[in-house]
Amino acid sequence: MKTPARFLYEFTESIRIAWAQIRANKTRSVLTALGVIIGIVAVTLMGTAIRGIDTGFENSLAMLGNDVFYVEKWPWFGAEDWWNYINRPPIRITDAEKLNRIIAETPNSLLEIAVPQAGRGCSVKYGDGKVDGIFAMGTTADYARMTTVDCEEGRFFNDVESNGGRAVCVLGYTVAEALFPRQSSLGQTVIIDGHPCSVIGVFAKQGEFLGLFSFDNQVMMPISAFTRMFGGRRGARLEVKVLDKTKMGPAKDELIGAMRRVRGQLPGERDNFNVNEQQAFKAQLDPIKTAIAFAGLFITGLSLFVGAIGIMNITFVSVKERTKEIGTRKAIGARRRTILMQFLVEAVSICLIGGSVGMVVAYAVFLGIHVQMPNFPVRFSPDLVLISMLVSVATGILSGFLPAWGASRLDPVVALRYE
């Protein structure tokens, strides 16, 4: 078939011409490509930042667990009418025992277990060393059964220690590092807000939640020891594990029903507690993430748009300069689409070169940021490269189209007369 072969030969000729043009007008090509380079660098870096924020959010949310509910006095979001909430009775530790009994009695329950948790801020001392702003959390031994607990040293407390309210604790990674830089903390006694506690384990490093709350700045102890040391007035929360995470909806309904029984609520009465879940966080975060992404990409997209205008301008100039050549090509048999393709290929070629250089520059900047500020959320993934290349090609086609179309429509008689 002649036609596909002819297209290939004309396309090859277009590439040859594009390359010759770029080499013949080096300064002009560099300046034009610069616009695209800057645009691509901006868009790519924005892409890495958005990716980084995404990953950061995902990692943090994972810390909340996607198969647990938190039964608390306050909701995580939307506590507009705070007087509705302030008078609620606090969640009691005994609520956990009652809830677990109901779960055990419910046939085919979707819930697995409820674990009470109580917490407060404190200071931890050892010898001359002291760390402030530590979060002390009391819970039961069931906690280790509900979630995987990674201990770098030692172990989590067991049922005996939990039920007996023994003064033992597991230190968070940063706490242990600060107080015991050169020795093991196991077996040592730390003072938590004046109360002595024996260290039986150290958590592995976990990281921060949205940069707000560090899981490494904690100490955990049996909840009965906690209430003995700090009192139980503040109330607790219940972490409830779900058996099947695909059935979170019905599980939540079951939990609310069970909790109402535990709290002795009358039918028609509003819940005097809240069931919070990771999904709530996600629902809050997703619109923020989307808004950031849109705003960021729009602004950086503008810089690429400016680069595209440069391409369009230069292509117009190029067409004008080569009017006589276009007339000659038409006279010896070039069709309109051949001329159109020729100038589109020239525009796309500059964009691809600019895009490639832009990628390299963006990667270098990304590496620089990553080395200087390792905690700054940026992530450079391979599909970013592909997307940026596609964006370059699209930019070339869109910005080169108008001048290329004009070239294809030139009257050969007029074009040949052009000086």
Binding site: K2, T3, A5, R6, Y9, E10, E13, A20, A24, K324, E325, G327, T328, R329, K330, A331, I332, G333, A334, R335, R336, T338, P412, V413, L416
Partner: protein, 247 residues
């Protein structure tokens, strides 16, 4: 009008027997608008050209000879009238079809050579073949042949700026020949050349005519027109005379 049907070597010049009708123009007019003025470039021209003819179109500037040439070369379409090229009606053709005719049937030679400055002469010559869809191998072969035919077999890799004016026009002629067109259309082919080189180019045209090509030359110079076997004179958009010239 005398139309010989047998070869006659009159005054030492060959006149080849006419072949089939290539160009058939009847009552063609061309109007174009320059601002508020309407210019009547052609006011009703009728012309027939057979293959194996060597024709000169003459006239002062403003006579319409450039417009007629553009019409013959399918670069432009008539405002009214009929144009048949090799039996096909040109006036109703699409832009793509016209481009195809220009590619395969017509070989243009311009006064200003119109070569691509950044390509070798070989690449310049093979350009029409790229638009015709020929493979690189075939293109090279045909281009090489064409260049040898015009006497530039040893200049194939030179760029136009490395060639003299006469050599550049030879490259342009090779390009016009490379697709074996029905007619060669030359617009003031020696206009940018000195008289000696101009004469060499006209001798090349003579040679091409004897090899079997149909040639139309547009010129305002008598000396150049003298090489042709037939001369048409235009004046104010009309044909004033149409004679065979053997002397």
């Amino acid at each position: 009008m005398i139309s010989p049907t047998a070869p006659a070597a009159i005054s030492g010049r060959t006149v080849r027997p006419r072949g089939p009708l290539v160009i058939d123009i009847r009552g063609v007019t061309k109007l174009y608008h320059m601002g508020e003025e309407t210019v009547h470039a052609l006011r009703g021209v009728s012309l027939q050209v057979h293959s194996n003819e060597y024709l000169a179109i003459m006239g002062p500037s403003g006579s319409g000879k450039s417009t007629l040439m553009n019409m013959l070369g399918c670069l432009d379409t008539p405002t009214s009238g009929h144009y048949e090229f090799n039996g096909k009606d040109v006036s109703s053709m699409s832009d793509d079809e016209l481009a195809s005719i220009r590619n395969r049937e017509i070989g243009f030679v311009f006064q200003t050579f119109n070569l691509l400055p950044r390509s070798t002469s070989l690449h310049n010559v093979e350009l029409p073949l790229i638009y015709a869809g020929l493979s690189p191998h075939e293109r090279r072969e045909r281009a090489r042949l064409a260049m040898t035919n015009v006497g530039l077999g040893d200049r194939m890799l030179h760029k136009p700026n490395e060639l003299s004016g006469g050599q550049r026009q030879r490259v342009a002629i090779a390009r016009a020949l490379v697709n074996h067109p029905s007619i060669i259309l030359a617009d003031e082919p020696t206009g940018n050349l000195d008289s000696k080189t101009g004469e060499e180019i006209m001798q090349l045209f003579d040679q091409l005519y004897e090899q079997g090509n149909t040639i139309i030359v547009v010129t305002h110079e008598e000396d150049i027109a003298r090489h042709a076997r037939r001369a048409i004179r235009l004046h104010d958009g009309l044909i004033e005379s149409d004679r065979m010239t053997y002397v």
